[in-house]
């Protein structure tokens, strides 16, 4: 598309560029500049602080666990929803978006109650699932589950059926077909869904606040630590930590963009 200036160019360009700059780039710039002005020692002090290190590692680890959990269950859900027609499939499909629609605070509230000692599920479990790391992973999995399902579904729907039929006629067992023909086609979507789920989980705040107990060195996540620092007026520390989190988010975002560019959706030949 060459730059054909259609009527409406000026107005739409104006709104887009102005809106984008004011609402997105300006706040980002504020963060970047404040981080730039921070004393060099702040970052070092930050990384040296064991509480910060623990929180960051825990955030990453819990997000990873949640993303893996979602990879497993999300794949199963997507496969069943696309391939196996069953009564109520449409309802089930709509339900998958529940974690996106439900406020994170509400999610955290109900999960803490449900998996708590007196909850319907909690009382059946031989181990505690709240106020510990397991609870955090539960909450993170809940809020980011739809990413994997929604990433996979369009790819599964577009998968040409004659590929699997061809493999079968060539003598491949169902398992071999799934492993050698179907899975490689799904890989980009799986990675993309995993990455989005991970990114969402790393930055999650609302639901965790209710279920983790916010115990330093045990169940404290990085976003919470930012809030703590803000309350203590340690702006430099908060900004430094925010920049680190932003870097992680942007890296993941970049990775997903590159994936989409290289593989784009399902390839049909």
């Amino acid at each position: 598309m060459t730059l054909v200036r259609r009527p409406g160019f000026a107005l739409s360009a104006g709104i887009t560029l102005l809106g984008g700059t004011l609402m997105i780039l300006l706040p980002l710039a504020a963060l970047a500049l404040k981080a730039g002005h921070a004393r060099a020692g702040t970052f070092a002090a930050l990384l040296g602080d064991p509480r910060v290190r623990t929180a960051c590692l825990f955030s990453l680890g819990a997000a990873l666990a949640a993303a893996l959990f979602n990879l497993l269950w999300g794949t199963l859900l997507a496969w069943v929803l696309v391939r196996y027609p069953f009564p109520g499939r449409r309802l089930a499909d709509a339900l998958v978006d529940l974690p996106f629609a439900l406020p994170t605070a509400v999610a955290g509230l109900t999960l803490a109650s449900l998996y708590g000692p007196k909850g319907w599920i909690g009382r059946l479990l031989p181990f505690p699932a709240v106020y510990n790391q397991l609870g955090v992973v539960l909450a993170l999995s809940f809020v980011s589950l739809p990413f994997v399902v929604r990433s996979l579904q369009p790819v599964l729907e577009e998968l040409p059926r004659d590929l699997e039929e061809a493999a079968a006629c060539l003598g491949a067992s169902r398992w071999a077909t799934l492993r050698r023909v179907v899975l490689p086609q799904l890989l980009p979507a799986l990675l993309s869904g995993f990455a989005l789920s991970f990114a969402r989980a790393v930055g999650e705040y609302g639901s965790v606040v209710f279920i983790s107990g916010n115990l330093p060195f045990k169940t404290e996540i990085a976003p919470l630590l930012i809030v703590v620092k803000l309350e203590q007026y340690d702006y430099d520390g908060a900004v430094a930590l925010a920049v680190v989190m932003l870097a992680v988010s942007l890296l993941v975002l970049l990775g997903v963009h590159l994936l989409h560019r290289r593989f784009g959706g399902a390839r049909h030949v």
Binding site: M1, I15, A92, I226
Partner: protein
């Protein structure tokens, strides 16, 4: 969804495996998603109807509801207008830096809500860029309603744009060009040709935006200051009463938000169905 071609029956998984996997998937959905939802309503009514209604009529709750609605409305308006403009502009023109701008649209998506809130504190807080200027003019953004509105707007800003951009690109400029050739003015073209083609996508984006805005917690928490009766949105109010062990009240408000969530899910399904139907009829 029966239009999706599946591999021949001779080729797929054995029937028993299909049913087992389906059962496991449905069981997972029930336990992992439906049970938490049911728990909200169960816990909301566990202390009886009177407590339930009183929690919602409570002055602080009412204020929280009003503020949530205000910031949601503003967020939807901003996201909607920006979304239409940006999707059309980026979808029809290839300026240098096009790819970058599309990536910029994704940024609020990728940023942790707490970090988002922090950015606004850095802009409008007392020590922020505009802090002194605001102080001189006796305006407050942080720890006041405007801050909440802004933070909510930021987090939901690109929702409509992201929803519309692929639609605009798929639509192609032909219909608009035909209208122009027939003598329509740019505004007429927009209202009569472009907008109707995008209406379902727009509606879908608006629902997503509103849904997210109502539930936003992290960003709002940072800029709000938690001033009871002043700067509490409904999710923040839930947290406040929860911390005071008023579980019935907390769940009552949570059930209200859950109803909103369920309605938004139903609306989304409806819109997606209508959009698909229109596409197939075309």
């Amino acid at each position: 969804m029966s239009e999706i071609p599946l591999p021949a029956e001779g080729v797929g998984e054995p029937r028993w495996l299909r049913w087992t996997l389906t059962a496991v998937a449905v069981a997972f959905l029930l336990v992992f998603l439906v049970l938490p939802l049911a728990n909200i309503f169960h816990a909301a009514l566990s202390e009886g109807w009177r407590v339930f209604l009183a929690s919602l009529r409570d002055e602080e709750a009412a204020q929280a509801i009003r503020l949530s609605l205000l910031s949601t409305g503003a967020a939807v308006l901003l996201s909607g207008v920006f979304g239409l403009a940006a999707a059309w502009f980026l979808g029809r023109h290839r300026i240098p830096g096009h790819g970058l701008w599309v990536a910029v649209l994704d940024l609020p998506f990728a940023i942790s809500p707490v970090v988002a809130g922090l950015m606004f504190v850095l802009l409008f807080g007392l020590d922020g860029w505009f802090g002194p200027w605001l102080d001189r003019h006796n305006t407050q953004i942080i720890f006041a309603k405007p801050g909440i509105v802004l933070a909510t707007a930021f987090v939901t800003f690109p929702f409509v744009a992201r929803e519309l951009l692929p639609l605009v690109e798929a639509l192609g400029p032909e219909a608009e060009e035909a209208a122009r050739l027939l003598g329509a003015s740019p505004w007429q073209t927009f209202w009569r040709v472009t907008l109707p083609a995008l209406k379902w996508g727009l509606l879908y984006g608006v629902i997503l935006c509103a849904s997210r805005a109502m539930g936003e917690f992290g960003a709002v928490s940072v800029v709000s200051g938690h001033i009871r009766g002043e700067t509490m949105t409904l999710p923040l109010h839930i947290e406040a009463v929860y911390n005071e062990y008023q579980f019935g009240a907390a769940f009552a408000c949570a059930s209200l938000l859950s109803l909103v969530a369920l309605v938004s899910l139903a609306l989304k399904s409806f819109v997606a169905w209508r959009a698909r139907r229109d596409r197939e009829a075309a």
